[in-house]
């Protein structure tokens, strides 16, 4: 039995390394409720990437959830500089009052390597409707900065409205700890009608979910992410390494989809 396990583990790690994953969902700073992981700085993160064979990706800062969004953005921009990793900046509507101020801020962040944005409308008490967030969303549309949003932060109807009102914004939905798989009856029709909508993998976890999404909508609609160091990255990794898909589709999900989104970001 042990020989068999060693064989399975080696094959898994080999498959993992070959795919050269890009991770859209890594975090530094301190989580509000730390669990079993320790070490939340950029050095610990880079060590982990080596350990799991992850080649790069996007980094967010925990303090955006609770403390000072701009301060936390500054931390992650500074910490990722020169590392090959890219920052995710979190945005709130008042940053775009007036719109030029927000656009200048976003331009600056992009120049410093930011390649995605996050919003937390429920936690930060606002709405993605245009009357509240129009300037913010227009700036994202103009820069093609991907927008990552937790499914617990906006209703599916608001996500639909966002995707349809701003079709140039690549929208990536993810979220934890509430299982996203409860909402298949909503995100499946949305994937059907909103070509700019993608799902991130770490908490998708639904049975045959990867194959099912690819079968219905193609492999370009899934973005790889781990939510490290909150979640064990192997949760998401094996969903791809062992997906019953072509190697081309696996590679799209593992890295190429995210790489393309990041490469599509343009200055304002």
């Amino acid at each position: 039995m042990q020989d068999r396990i060693t064989e399975l583990a080696d094959a898994y790690r080999q498959a993992r390394a070959e795919l050269e994953f890009l991770d859209s969902n890594m975090w530094i700073g301190r989580p509000r409720n730390p669990e079993f992981a320790t070490g939340f700085d950029i050095h610990a993160l880079r060590d982990r990437l080596q350990r799991y064979g992850i080649a790069g990706g996007l980094v967010s800062h925990f303090a955006v959830l609770t403390y000072d969004v701009e301060w936390a953005n500054e931390q992650v921009l500074a910490e990722t500089a020169g590392t090959g990793l890219s920052a995710v900046v979190t945005l709130t509507p008042e940053m775009f009052e007036p719109p030029e101020a927000g656009r200048a801020y976003l331009s600056g962040a992009i120049a410093r390597g930011a390649r995605a944005a996050r919003v937390f409308p429920a936690t930060h008490n606002f709405t993605l409707r245009a009357w509240c967030s129009g300037a913010l969303l227009q700036a994202l549309a103009d820069s093609r900065l991907p927008l990552i949003i937790w499914h617990t932060e906006a209703s599916w109807d608001e996500i639909r409205n966002l995707c349809e009102s701003y079709p140039e914004v690549p929208v990536i939905v993810e979220g934890t700890p509430k299982k996203i798989l409860y909402y298949g009856r909503q995100y499946y029709p949305l994937l059907g009608r909103c070509p700019n909508l993608r799902l991130e993998l770490h908490n998708l976890v639904s049975y045959l979910g990867v194959e099912d999404v690819v079968r219905r909508f193609g492999a370009r609609r899934l973005v790889f992410g781990t939510y490290m160091p909150v979640y064990d990255p192997n949760t998401a990794l094996m969903q791809v390494t062992h997906a019953r898909l072509s190697s081309e589709d696996k590679r799209l999900i593992a890295r190429d989809n995210l790489a393309e989104l990041m490469a599509g970001v343009k200055p304002l």
């Binding site: 509000r32 925990f62 959830l65 609770t66 403390y67 000072d68 969004v69 008042e94």
Partner: protein
């Protein structure tokens, strides 16, 4: 001196606050006659301990020592937060220890808080705690209802505990008063959005003015709402003096 015993500098991501700056706070304090404040930087509550220390020390200095401060003891980051706390309490300006069981989702009687009480006893400073009642819309308040503080309060009679917001809502006020009547080392502050009609008078009648502290929760709330309620309360001038500053000066060594 009038002392705001419960205030905050720094932002919170959850909402937009027009002005959380030191300059703004001092200007309003001057405008309405508040001399000193005990400030608990939001970064401190939100796991950004280094930022909290440097921001608090700077505010203390730039305010001409008017903004004393309390850093937060975090039960999920004991070593980190304890290090900064020790440093703050050895220097001028650091006057208390903050705990926030609701934010950190650890019950006050949890052993992880033990070192906060030990530290408070060692440095003879009070602990200021967030306290509230069970809430329909904020489930984490269940970690901060007053009865949960009884264990450590009883074990550390030499440490004064300030129940911030005096339990927050009606059921919490009842429970906070129960605790304060049982334990002479329990104090209640008037900060937060706890504006019930007759609350100040009722608290004075239940626990006595010596154990109530004026606090505002600025820069979340406007301090004028809190100051007016004490100034105009149906309590004696002597009681108002105690509440508005004498108690705080005694408790925090100001």
């Amino acid at each position: 001196m009038i002392v705001d015993a419960h205030s905050h500098l720094g932002r919170m991501a959850g909402y937009f606050a027009p002005d959380t700056s030191l300059g703004g706070m001092l200007a309003l304090m001057d405008a309405i006659g508040i001399d000193l404040a005990v400030q608990m930087h939001t970064s401190s509550i939100m796991e950004c301990f280094e930022e909290a220390y440097s921001a608090s020390v700077e505010a203390y200095r730039l305010s001409g020592k008017r903004l004393a401060y309390a850093l937060t003891y975090h039960p999920c980051y004991v070593e980190d937060s304890l290090g900064w706390l020790r440093r703050s309490l050895r220097e001028p300006g650091g006057v208390a220890i903050k705990i926030h069981p609701g934010q950190h989702q650890v019950f006050p009687e949890d052993p992880r808080y033990e070192l906060a009480w030990e530290l408070a006893a060692e440095y003879r400073v009070p602990i200021i705690a967030h306290s509230w009642a069970l809430s329909d819309y904020n489930a984490s308040q269940r970690f901060a209802t007053p009865e949960h503080f009884e264990g450590p309060v009883a074990r550390y009679p030499q440490v004064n505990l300030v129940l911030g917001h005096a339990g927050g809502r009606y059921e919490g006020h009842l429970a906070a008063v129960d605790l304060a009547r049982l334990y002479p080392n329990v104090y209640l502050d008037l900060s937060g959005d706890s504006f019930s009609f007759g609350l100040v008078e009722w608290l004075v009648s239940q626990v006595g003015a010596e154990r109530i502290l004026f606090g505002t929760d600025a820069t979340m709330f406007d301090p004028r709402a809190h100051l007016a309620r004490v100034l105009d309360a149906d309590v004696t001038l002597g009681a108002k003096a105690l509440i508005l500053g004498d108690n705080a000066c005694r408790l925090f060594g100001l």
